[in-house]
């Protein structure tokens, strides 16, 4: 879990841009590329975006859940970043880190 949220933080720092939907898609694509070493297909991007938006909605409604997620582990997180964004990205990161493709080195 901690790895996921730190990865999310890294995404936020690396992929700059305004808080627009396009920027979100860029962040997700970057997340995908860094874990799988390939570009996502349009279908895959759709999957990531829909889950991300659902997760974001939840964290906006329940910010305490986002707080909880971001305090797992020993490392802190950058307080300048949006907690809800971070948490939602962390969820996607977690999902990606657990796919067969990412875990298995062939």
């Amino acid at each position: 879990v901690e790895a996921s949220r730190k990865l999310a933080e890294r995404v936020m720092h690396t992929v700059k841009g305004s808080d627009s939907e396009k920027s979100d898609t860029e962040k997700l694509e970057w997340l995908f590329r860094i874990t799988t070493s390939r570009r996502p297909s349009p279908d895959e991007i759709d999957l990531l975006v829909s889950t991300f938006q659902a997760a974001l909605r939840r964290y906006v409604d329940h910010p305490e859940l986002a707080e909880q997620l971001m305090t797992v582990g020993e490392s802190s997180y950058d307080p300048r970043l949006s907690v809800t964004q971070l948490a939602a990205l962390a969820a996607i990161a977690n999902a990606l880190l657990n796919t067969d493709e990412v875990i298995t080195k062939n």
Partner: protein, 473 residues
């Protein structure tokens, strides 16, 4: 795989292809339809729906438990010469010593209406003698523990092949999607502190898809580690993350077709379900006190053989296909009089309780129970003939096990050995034959349950084994 299975694989691909986007848990539900995964050869209806294998690791002595040899009382102390052994391979441990016949210090009696003969060390089991089929003519080729137990588990002395539980899972699938088809539990024997190690590969899947491996439930604490959600992620979040992960996995599978991806998909789903199903197993609060009286006080302590037997019953009720218990500590090379009673104290009451419990619930007929070790012990004593400390060495040519339920003929003794319990004189049952018979009880033809690997069709019994009609009810 058989052509049948290959065809099923094609069907799955089509299924996944049609629902490419937004699969979610609904799609997964149909993908995980058990009938698509099992490779039911189901040639005929079997009596048994499941197996509970009570494996006694270390090799319990047949002389002290199941094979009565009254002649030894007279022959005690006589030395056995080289001609007796006819060049048989012996263990390094006793190759150099003088070999003197050693009688057993325990008496045997016939029990129940059937007159099945058991030693005084098994008083509880004696009360269910009429349910037992004692096989005295078991045979194996392996002389040391690791190859012998590997042989028992996989049908081959060298590691790498699927275990019998994996074959059964592959052949019959699971009755319960919330639990693994093959569960393993291990208990320590009171009799021998430094007993043989047991390896994960003994309940492994070999070359069968990973989904068929045995899942070991830990004796103490959480039965399965890391099952509960970590801090920061609740069930809803977990489900959401899992859905995304699985959807990506399935896409990947569509493109690459690696069966291991499919296994991972299935295992992750199973793990998710086990988050709720497993903690419930350990909760014995709705179990009446008389259950614990039946299995013995030890059944209240997690990790004991007794506790595992009770869990085995619960798992059986929940549809787990192959439940295997390992009880360690039977390797009495010495100090049999001190250690054997401790071992029997561990297993006698719970084994009998399991039989009684299942019978009460009307489940004995459909549950095949097998109790036994990996080989037998020698008629000669290891070390000296000090009757307060004697022990026996390994002996593969004949040994005893018992079976109950699941289509096995009750209240009988099958097979005989000579006066020295050295060779089988009638009705030998090789390990391959036991496997064939076990599969037969489950309704599977051992010659049909195959898997193509490295160019040829493998099966649990390889190219051997015959069903033993004399063991069947």
């Amino acid at each position: 795989m058989t052509d049948n299975a290959r065809h099923l694989m094609m069907t799955r691909r089509h299924l996944l292809g049609k629902s490419a986007t937004g699969i979610g848990s609904l799609g997964l539900a149909s993908v995980l339809n058990e009938s698509l995964f099992s490779n039911t050869t189901g040639s005929f209806p079997g009596r048994a729906k499941r197996v509970i294998y009570l494996f006694q690791s270390g090799a319990p002595s047949q002389f002290e438990l199941l094979d009565h040899k009254p002649e030894l009382q007279k022959l005690h102390g006589q030395e056995l010469g080289a001609d007796f052994f006819e060049g048989q391979r012996q263990t390094g441990m006793t190759a150099g010593q003088k070999k003197q016949i050693c009688r057993s210090i325990y008496s045997f009696k016939k029990h129940g209406q059937s007159g099945v003969e058991l030693s005084e060390m098994l008083p509880h089991l004696s009360t269910v003698a009429d349910e037992l089929c004692v096989v005295r003519s078991m045979q194996t080729q392996a002389i040391n523990h690791d190859p012998a137990i590997t042989f028992f588990q996989t049908g081959f002395q060298q590691a790498g092949r699927p275990s019998m539980g994996a074959w059964v899972s592959y052949g019959l699938g699971s009755d319960n999607k919330d639990l693994p088809a093959y569960v393993v539990m291990i208990s320590e024997g009171s009799g021998k502190r430094d007993s043989q190690a047991l390896y994960g590969r003994l309940w492994g899947n070999g070359f069968l898809p990973s989904a068929h491996q045995g899942v070991k439930f830990r004796g103490k604490g959480d039965p399965v580690l890391y099952l509960s959600n970590p801090t920061g992620i609740n069930s809803q979040q977990r489900r959401e993350i899992l859905d995304l992960s699985q959807a990506l996995n399935e896409k990947h599978y569509q493109e690459v077709g690696d069966p291991e991806t499919l296994a991972r998909i299935k295992q992750a789903e199973l793990a998710y379900r086990m988050q709720t199903s497993v903690p419930g197993l350990m909760d014995h609060s709705d179990e009446p006190e008389r259950t614990f009286e039946l299995y013995g006080e030890a059944s209240k302590t997690p990790g004991t053989f007794a506790a595992n037997c009770l869990l085995a019953r619960k798992l059986a009720e929940k549809g787990v296909r192959f439940i295997q218990l390992y009880h360690r500590g039977w390797d009495q090379h010495g100090d049999m009089p001190r250690d054997l009673p401790l071992q029997c104290g561990d297993v006698d009451q719970p084994s009998a309780a399991l039989i009684k419990d299942l019978k009460q619930r009307g489940m004995l007929d459909e549950t095949l129970i097998i109790w036994g070790g990996e080989f037998g012990r020698t008629v000669y004593a290891q070390g000296g003939l000090d009757m307060s400390r004697y022990g026996r060495d390994h002996h593969p040519r004949c040994f005893s096990i018992w079976m109950a339920g699941g289509g096995i003929k009750p209240g009988t003794t099958y097979g005989t050995t000579d006066d020295f319990s050295f060779n089988v004189t009638e009705n030998p049952v090789h390990v391959y034959d036991l496997h064939a018979t076990m599969l037969h009880c489950l309704g599977v033809d051992h010659e049909q349950l195959t898997y193509k690997f490295q160019g040829r069709h493998y099966r649990l019994t390889d190219v051997h084994g015959q069903v033993v009609p004399g063991l069947l009810a």
